[in-house]
C-alpha cells in the first residue's frame, strides 16, 4: 500500500491538475484542433452518422470532398471521405455510415494510387474509435498505432498537430465547421478555394512530393479493397469507380513517367476481378492548372467544372443505367 503521507502533496495536486487538463482537452479536441485537414477528419464522424439516408454516396478523399458539390448534382447524393483515405479508411467510413443508415444504391469510389505518407496516422488518431482501432490494429504500422495511443495524452497530441507549420489553420468554431459540412452534404470548401495554381507549378517544383514515379498500392490496400467490395456486395450496393483527376501539368508528367499507365493497369485488374464495377468517366485525366487552388485541391472555378463533369459524365450515366437495369 502506498503511504500517501510520504508522497509530496504538491506532486499529488499536480497529478490531479494534469489529469483534469487532459480530460478537458480530450473532451474538447474537436474545437481545439485548428488544423484544417485534421478538423475535416475529426468531423467526418459527425457527417457519417448524421440522420437521413442517401441513395448515392461519394466515397473518396479530400480531392472529391473539396471538388464535388453534391447539392448541385442530386438531393440524394452525400459525399463522405477522409483526407488521404485508402481502402482501409474507406471501409471503416462505410461501415460507420451503414451502422446508422440504409445502404445506398451506388457508391462512387475513388481508389487512390498515391503515396499518402502519414495520413493514416491522422485517421487513426482522429477518426478511429476504440473498437475500430482494435479491428484494424494488426494492419496498422507502428507509427499509426502510436498515433492512436498518443492521442490519449491529448495536450501532446494537440501540440503535434496544432503547431504544424505547413498546414492551414481553420479560424472558425467547430460548430460552424460541422454546420457547413452537414448543409453542403459533405462538400468542404478547400482552404485554397480562391487561389489559382500557376501553370508552371510542377516545372518550378521539380522535387514536389506529389511527383511520384510509381503508384503506391500496399498489401493492406488490396485486402481492404476486397473487404469493401464484400461489404458492398452483402448490402446490395453497386460500385462505380471515379477516375483520377490532376492538374494537366502533372498529368503530362504522369503520362511520361508511367504512373498513369500503372494506375490504368491496376484499375483494369480490379475490374477484371469485380466485373460489375463500372468506370464511366475514364481512369485518368488532367484538367487545366487554373482549376486548382493548390497542388491537389480545386478552387471555386475547379469545383464548378468538376461538379458539372461528375454530374454529366459519371452520375447521370450511372443513374440511367441503374434505371435501365430495373
Amino acid at each position: 500500500m502506498t503511504n500517501f503521507k510520504r508522497v509530496p502533496h504538491a506532486f499529488l495536486w499536480t497529478l490531479l491538475l494534469i489529469v483534469l487538463t487532459e480530460f478537458f482537452v480530450y473532451s474538447n479536441r474537436e474545437s481545439l484542433v485548428h488544423d484544417y485537414w485534421n478538423k475535416f477528419v475529426i468531423n467526418e464522424k459527425v457527417l457519417a452518422e448524421a440522420p437521413g439516408d442517401y441513395d448515392y454516396l461519394i466515397l473518396g478523399n479530400s480531392i472529391q470532398k473539396t471538388g464535388i458539390r453534391p447539392a448541385d448534382v442530386s438531393d440524394r447524393l452525400l459525399s463522405i471521405g477522409l483526407a488521404g483515405a485508402k481502402p482501409l479508411a474507406q471501409v471503416a467510413l462505410l461501415k460507420r455510415y451503414l451502422r446508422k443508415h440504409k445502404p445506398p444504391k451506388v457508391i462512387f469510389l475513388y481508389v487512390d494510387p498515391e503515396n499518402q505518407y502519414d495520413t493514416m496516422q491522422v485517421i487513426a488518431r482522429y477518426f478511429f474509435d476504440f473498437t475500430e482501432f482494435g479491428t484494424y490494429a494488426s494492419d496498422l504500422s507502428r507509427d499509426e498505432r502510436d498515433a492512436y495511443v498518443w492521442k490519449m495524452f491529448s495536450t501532446l497530441d494537440h501540440r503535434k498537430v496544432g503547431l504544424g507549420q505547413d498546414r492551414v489553420a481553420y479560424g472558425g468554431p467547430n460548430a460552424e465547421f460541422v454546420r457547413a459540412l452537414l448543409a453542403n452534404r459533405g462538400f468542404m470548401q478547400s482552404p485554397f478555394h480562391d487561389r489559382i495554381l500557376a501553370d508552371d507549378f510542377y516545372a518550378t517544383h521539380k522535387t514536389h512530393r506529389r511527383i511520384q514515379p510509381s503508384i503506391t498500392i500496399e498489401p493492406r490496400d488490396r485486402k481492404y479493397f476486397d473487404e469493401l467490395m464484400t461489404v458492398a456486395d452483402q448490402s446490395g450496393i453497386r460500385v462505380v469507380f471515379l477516375g483520377m483527376v490532376v492538374p494537366e501539368e502533372l498529368g503530362a508528367i504522369f503520362e511520361t513517367n508511367g504512373f498513369f499507365k500503372e494506375y490504368r493497369e491496376y484499375l483494369a485488374a480490379l475490374r477484371a476481378r469485380y466485373p460489375r464495377v463500372t468506370l464511366p468517366g475514364g481512369e485518368t485525366f488532367g484538367i487545366a492548372n487554373k482549376y486548382f487552388g493548390d497542388f491537389q485541391h480545386m478552387n471555386d472555378q475547379g469545383v464548378e467544372f468538376y461538379t458539372r463533369y461528375f454530374k454529366e459524365e459519371v452520375f447521370a450515366p450511372t443513374v440511367a443505367s441503374a434505371a435501365a437495369e430495373r
Binding site: 510520504r6 509530496p8 502533496h9 506532486f11 499536480t14 495536450t155 501540440r159
Partner: protein, 478 residues
C-alpha cells in the same frame, strides 16, 4: 539513446522495475543488472564503443591489481606511468590522432597525403578516461586501495548515468557506493525526481529551443544583424548552461533513483561574483579533477629546486582544459583566454579589495555589477563553442559593434524572441532562488500552491514546447 528520448524513458522504466525487484542485498545482483544495462545503454550508440570500454576496463583493472600494497613504491609508480600512458594514449589516438596527423602533413608540406585515419570518436571518451584515471592516481597516493572485484570496477567505468557526459566521478566516491548497500529513501527518490524533471526542462525546453535560434545565426555570423548576434550571444550562454547542467541533473537524478550520489557538477554559476568562483561552480567535476590532478601537482613541482611561475601553471592548466574539449585552435584559445583572465584577476584582486564598498547600496551595486561583468567575460569565452573557426568570434563582435544590417535584408522578428524569454523565465526564477538559498532543492521549501503551480507549468512547457527530436547533448561530442 539519450536521456531526453522516449526510448530512454521506456528503457529506464523497465530497468528500474527490474532493479527494484532484485533484493537490495547482496549488492551483486543489482550491480550485475546495472552493468548489463550500462553496456546496453552505451552500446546502443555503437557496439564497438562498448568493446573499447571493456578493453579499457580490463587493462585498468589489471593495472590496479598491480598497484596493491604488497608492491614496492617503484613498481606502483611504474604502473601509474603505464596507466597514464595507456589511458591518455587511448584518448589521444581516438581524439587527437587526426589533428596531429594533419598537422604533420601540413608541416611536411604534403598537400595530398595525410596519415589521418577515419576514426570515429567514441562517445564520452574524454569523460570516462578522466574518470578511470582517478583510480590509479588515487591508489598511488594511498587514498584508495585497489579493488579486487572485477564486477565493481567494471560498473565504476561503465556506470551509465554519467558515462556520456559526466559528472566525472572519482573512484574514491563511486567505488565504495558500488560495493555497499544503497537504500533508496523517499527523500532520495524525491530529490531524484526533481533533478530528472528539472534537467529535462533545462534540456528540451530551454536549451533545444535556444539552439534553434542560435544555430543558424552562428553558422553564418556575417549574414545576421547586430541585434540578432547580440541576442544570440546571450542566448548561447544560457543554452550551453541549460544543456550541460540539464544533462548533469538528469544523470544525478537517475543515479539517485538507483541509490547513488553523484557529485554536483553545476552550482548556479551565472550568479558568481568573479571568475575563480564561477569556475568553482561550472563543470565542477572537470575543474576539480584538473585542479586536483594537474594544477596542484604542477604548482607544487620543484624542478631544480624552484617552483614554476603561478601564471605559467595557470596557463598550462587552462590550455589543457581547452584541448580536453577537442584538438582545435579555438579551444586552445578559449583556454588561453581564461588563463589570461584569471592571471589578470589575481593581479587586480588587491586593488579591487581596496576600492570595494563595505556596505549599503554601493556594496549591493558592486556585487550585482560583479556578477554581470563575470557573466559577460564568461559568455565571451563561450563563443568559442558557438563557432567553428577562431576568426568567427571576431566576426560576431564586429557584427555587434558595427550593428551590422542582415546580409540578406529582412527584419528581426521579435515573435520567437518573446517565446524564448517566456521559456527561459522559469530557469531564471529557480536559479536565482537556488543561488539565494544556496540550496538546489529550494523548490521543496516553497508553499504547496507555488510548487504545484510550478510543477504544472513546467510539465506543460515540456509537453508543449519541449523539443523531442533533438537527441544529442552539446557536451556529448567531447
Amino acid at each position: 539513446m539519450a536521456f531526453n528520448t522516449l526510448t530512454f524513458a521506456l528503457y529506464f522504466g523497465i530497468f528500474n522495475i527490474l532493479y527494484r525487484l532484485i533484493p537490495e542485498t547482496p549488492v551483486r545482483g543489482r550491480n550485475l543488472l546495472l552493468l548489463a544495462a550500462s553496456y546496453a545503454f552505451y552500446g546502443s550508440w555503437d557496439w564497438r564503443f562498448a568493446g573499447l570500454l571493456a578493453f579499457s576496463t580490463v587493462v585498468n583493472f589489471a593495472i590496479g591489481l598491480e598497484m596493491g600494497e604488497d608492491r614496492t613504491p617503484q613498481h606502483r609508480k611504474t604502473m601509474l606511468v603505464l596507466a597514464l600512458a595507456f589511458n591518455l594514449g587511448l584518448l589521444g589516438f581516438f581524439k587527437y590522432f587526426n589533428f596531429f596527423a594533419d598537422g604533420l602533413a601540413a608541416l611536411l608540406g604534403s598537400s595530398t597525403y595525410s596519415p589521418a585515419l577515419n576514426i570515429v570518436l567514441p562517445l564520452g571518451i574524454s569523460f570516462y578516461t578522466f574518470q578511470v584515471l582517478s583510480y590509479p592516481i588515487d591508489i598511488r597516493r594511498g587514498v584508495i586501495r585497489p579493488t579486487r572485484d572485477f564486477l565493481d570496477f567494471s560498473l565504476f567505468v561503465a556506470f551509465f548515468p554519467n558515462i556520456v557526459a559526466g559528472p566525472i566521478e572519482r573512484a574514491r566516491n563511486l567505488l565504495p557506493q558500488i560495493a555497499s548497500r544503497r537504500p533508496i529513501s523517499a527523500e532520495r527518490f524525491h530529490e531524484g525526481a526533481w533533478l530528472i524533471f528539472w534537467g529535462l526542462f533545462k534540456k528540451i525546453v530551454v536549451a533545444d529551443n535556444l539552439s534553434k535560434f542560435t544555430t543558424p545565426i552562428f553558422d553564418l555570423p556575417v549574414s545576421s544583424s547586430g541585434l540578432q548576434l547580440l541576442t544570440a550571444f546571450y542566448a548561447f550562454a544560457i543554452q550551453i548552461y541549460a544543456d550541460f547542467s540539464g544533462y548533469s541533473d538528469m544523470a544525478r537524478g537517475l543515479a539517485k533513483w538507483m541509490g547513488f550520489e553523484l557529485m554536483l557538477n553545476f552550482k548556479t554559476p551565472f550568479f558568481s561574483p568573479n571568475l575563480p568562483v564561477l569556475w568553482q561552480r561550472w563543470h565542477m567535476s572537470l575543474t576539480n579533477w584538473i585542479k586536483e590532478y594537474v594544477f596542484y601537482p604542477l604548482a607544487l613541482w620543484r624542478p631544480r629546486g624552484r617552483s614554476l611561475e603561478s601564471a605559467l601553471v595557470i596557463l598550462i592548466t587552462w590550455v589543457l582544459m581547452g584541448i580536453w574539449h577537442g584538438p582545435t585552435l579555438v579551444f586552445a584559445i578559449w583556454g588561453f583566454y581564461h588563463a589570461a583572465l584569471l592571471v589578470l584577476y589575481n593581479r587586480l584582486l588587491p586593488h579591487l579589495n581596496r576600492v570595494r564598498p563595505k556596505q549599503g547600496w554601493r556594496l549591493t551595486t558592486w556585487n550585482a555589477g560583479s556578477v554581470l561583468i563575470t557573466f559577460h567575460f564568461f559568455a565571451i569565452g563561450l563563443l568559442c563553442f558557438a563557432v567553428k573557426l577562431p576568426e568567427e568570434v571576431l566576426l560576431v563582435f564586429d557584427g555587434i559593434i558595427q550593428w551590422q544590417a542582415p546580409y540578406y535584408g529582412g527584419t528581426f522578428s521579435l515573435q520567437p524572441f518573446y517565446l524564448l524569454v517566456f521559456l527561459v523565465l522559469p530557469l531564471v526564477v529557480v536559479e536565482s532562488a537556488q543561488a539565494r538559498a544556496d540550496d538546489e532543492f529550494v523548490v521543496f521549501r516553497w508553499p504547496v500552491w507555488a510548487k504545484t503551480g510550478f510543477y504544472y507549468l513546467g510539465f506543460y512547457l515540456i509537453v508543449l514546447y519541449g523539443v523531442f527530436s533533438a537527441n544529442r547533448y552539446f557536451y556529448d561530442q567531447f
